[in-house]
């Protein structure tokens, strides 16, 4: 049996976890290709015009997978381990997908206020006729892989932070940072201009104390980004760039507090909004101008 996983949005919340999990359960996994122009165009055509750009990209990936596999896996992410919520747009994704594609959809609600993650994936396994032992084993391998990647990221971070180049911190959601097409290859662009780009996901959380001034977010990414920021502010960074997808409601809140921290410390801050109409040339110009102001 073939399970399709769209490589966008929810995928990047737990990268490599789900594909490892399903492969270890003995299924064939079909990942949609990295975002490209065609996928974005398809997605924009079918989606609600006012939903966020990241969602539009996701619909494009879904359409690409439609008809190519037995199931498309779309988790309903609601509440995480720390009892913090995900973006409300994620809550409805599986239902909206049902309207959009003809393919069968495999879904399970991840709400850790009600049940633990382990129990939820057991239920997921039941849907696929796999017993508890098999699920447990597959999950363990996936967790190990996730941990491995995390450790490697932290190593990379330490290496990067000690480099003599100008260091820039890129702040955004993982689905914007990891997807090269969506953020218009920001990392490569910065590297070409002789700077070092650090993703906010790579930054370890060093102290959990809340030293910065931000309200108690009920969103997991809000808390995560602000905590990681309090780490990165201890290091010497040349500037910060925040990337938002157009109409991202959560970022409208988050940006205010992110910007405030950098401004109060006199660290240059650039705010970029990406959507389906963003031109690469415009981005390049703004980035070069931003780097020039720092030199």
């Amino acid at each position: 049996m073939k399970i399709g996983i769209p490589q966008a949005l929810l995928y990047w919340k737990q990268p490599y976890f789900w594909e490892t999990f399903f492969e270890n359960l003995g299924f064939e996994v079909l990942l949609s290709p990295p975002t490209n122009k065609e996928i974005v165009e398809q997605g924009v055509k079918v989606s609600d015009p006012e939903t966020c750009f990241s969602n539009k990209v996701y619909w494009g990936h879904l359409l690409w997978l439609d008809g190519k596999c037995d199931y498309i896996f779309i988790p309903r992410l609601k509440v995480n381990k720390e009892r913090l919520e995900y973006c409300p747009k994620f809550f409805g994704v599986p239902d909206l997908a049902k309207i959009l594609v003809k393919n069968k959809i495999l879904t399970e609600t991840f709400n850790e206020r009600k049940e633990s993650f382990e129990r939820t994936i057991e239920k997921l396994g039941e849907k696929l006729n796999k017993n508890r032992e098999e699920v447990k084993k597959a999950a363990e391998i996936s967790f190990l892989k996730q941990k491995e990647i995390k450790e490697k990221e932290e190593e990379d971070f330490l290496k990067k932070i000690q480099s003599p180049k100008q260091k820039f911190i890129l702040i955004s959601h993982p689905y914007n940072l990891e997807d090269g097409y969506v953020n218009l290859r920001m990392k490569e662009k910065l590297e070409k201009l002789g700077a070092e780009a650090i993703f906010i996901d790579e930054v370890p959380i060093q102290n959990k104390e809340n030293k910065l001034d931000w309200p108690k977010f009920h969103w997991e990414f809000g808390k995560e980004i602000m905590e990681k920021m309090s780490t990165i502010l201890n290091y010497n960074i040349a500037g910060a760039i925040e990337i938002s997808s157009f109409q991202c409601g959560c970022d409208a809140v988050l940006k205010e507090f992110v910007e405030k921290e950098f401004k109060s410390r006199k660290i240059p801050f650039l705010y970029l909004i990406v959507d389906e109409q963003t031109g690469e040339a415009g981005f390049q110009t703004r980035l070069e101008a931003f780097l020039d102001t720092i030199k």
């Binding site: 006012e50 409300p88 239902d95 909206l96 409208a252 809140v253 405030k260």
Partner: protein, 361 residues
């Protein structure tokens, strides 16, 4: 601390009732300015670009009141659940302070306990006093909602055009007055008598249109360009479920949410924050009740409503019910809304005509 002079977030006609709370507690109040294009533009100038529209409107309403001398702002948070509404207070405070306003911002959670403690803190009133004020507030609120509901019925049926609106305007201005709870029943009788005396054509059969969507835009006639009045003048009966009482009931009794979830399970199996689920539930109900059209109102980019809109569109396709979705923000012009509304009214009339024709044959 200097003497608090209070202003608060404006919300359509209900503002009158909110004002009563503070007045009755013996606090000085400067009510927020009535929403107009000027206040909206001012508010939008201050607020973050991508934030939702109601927050910009609120900010615009505060500004003239602050100029007149208000120094304390009252704002409820987390009305909607998972959506951005719970950060309104934080952002508004930040934005206003950055703009150089010296204010005391009272941001409280929408639970009776939290509201009570905040009100007590600022006014120093006793428990019974507060309870009395709350009772008066609910009485006024109920009357305002009743007047609105009556308006929806009388407006399309009136014989002399514009009479209903004139009387409703008069009643709302009258309602600002009574300072004592004892004077209220007399006024209530007077208002209700005036409205029921409007000459109407009772036997008229009319097409029915329902308003669904985000609570603030649906309930506030100043930001939805008086959509209820406009439809009423075109001889269409307007229905809507959303109002404050509905919302408060839902806050206190959770089972309404369970019923809603059970009904909408084929379409959406989870909450999406705000009143996302309610829109689907209401639309399904209106389809069952054989209405002639649904208008979905939302602030531009509202997270819950945008998420459910594809589902509403699906219900529209399945049922053939005319459906119009209007996103409102500071750049929407009244003329644009009017044009779309006129076209929609034609569709509604056609739908209604065809329906009655098939019933006869």
């Amino acid at each position: 601390m200097e003497k608090p002079i209070i202003t608060f977030a404006r919300w359509g006609n209900y503002t009158i009732a909110f004002k009563t709370i503070f007045e009755q507690l013996g606090l000085e109040v400067i009510p927020p300015e009535k929403t107009n294009s000027q206040t909206i533009a001012e508010g939008a100038k201050l607020s973050p670009e991508m934030f939702c529209f109601p927050m910009k409107v609120n900010l615009g309403n505060y500004l003239p009141a602050l100029k007149k001398g208000a120094n304390t702002i009252f704002m409820v948070q987390n009305i909607g659940g998972s959506c951005r509404q719970r950060y309104y207070g934080v952002i508004q405070e930040k934005v206003l302070k950055e703009a150089g306003h010296q204010i005391n911002f009272l941001d409280f959670r929408a639970t009776p306990k939290d509201i009570y403690s905040k009100v007590k803190e600022i006014s120093g009133a006793s428990f019974w006093q507060i309870m009395k004020v709350v009772r008066f507030f609910f009485k006024k609120l109920a009357l305002i909602e009743k007047i609105e509901k009556m308006g929806q019925y009388y407006r399309p049926r009136e014989i002399e055009k514009g009479e209903t609106d004139r009387i409703i305007q008069w009643s709302f201005s009258k309602l600002e007055e009574p300072k004592k709870e004892e004077d209220f029943p007399k006024l209530k009788r007077e208002i209700l008598k005036k409205i029921t005396e409007i000459k109407i054509d009772k036997n008229k059969s009319l097409p029915k249109v329902a308003l669904v969507g985000e609570i603030y835009t649906v309930c506030d006639p100043t930001i939805n360009f008086k959509i209820e009045e406009k439809l009423g003048m075109e001889e269409i009966e307007v229905h809507r479920q959303m109002d404050i009482t509905y919302h408060i009931k839902k806050l206190i009794f959770p089972w309404k949410d369970w019923i809603i979830q059970r009904k909408i399970n084929p379409y959406l199996r989870s909450t999406v924050g705000g009143h996302g689920r309610d829109a689907i539930y209401e639309m399904l109900n209106y389809v069952k009740e054989d209405f002639d059209g649904i208008i979905h109102l939302l602030p531009f980019g509202c997270m819950p409503e945008v998420t459910v809109r594809p589902i509403l569109e699906k219900i529209h396709q399945e049922s053939g019910m005319p459906f119009l979705s209007l996103s409102l923000d500071e750049q929407v012009a009244e003329a644009g809304i009017d044009t779309r509304l006129e076209a929609f009214i034609d569709v509604v009339r056609n739908h209604y005509k065809n329906k009655s024709r098939t019933e006869i044959s």
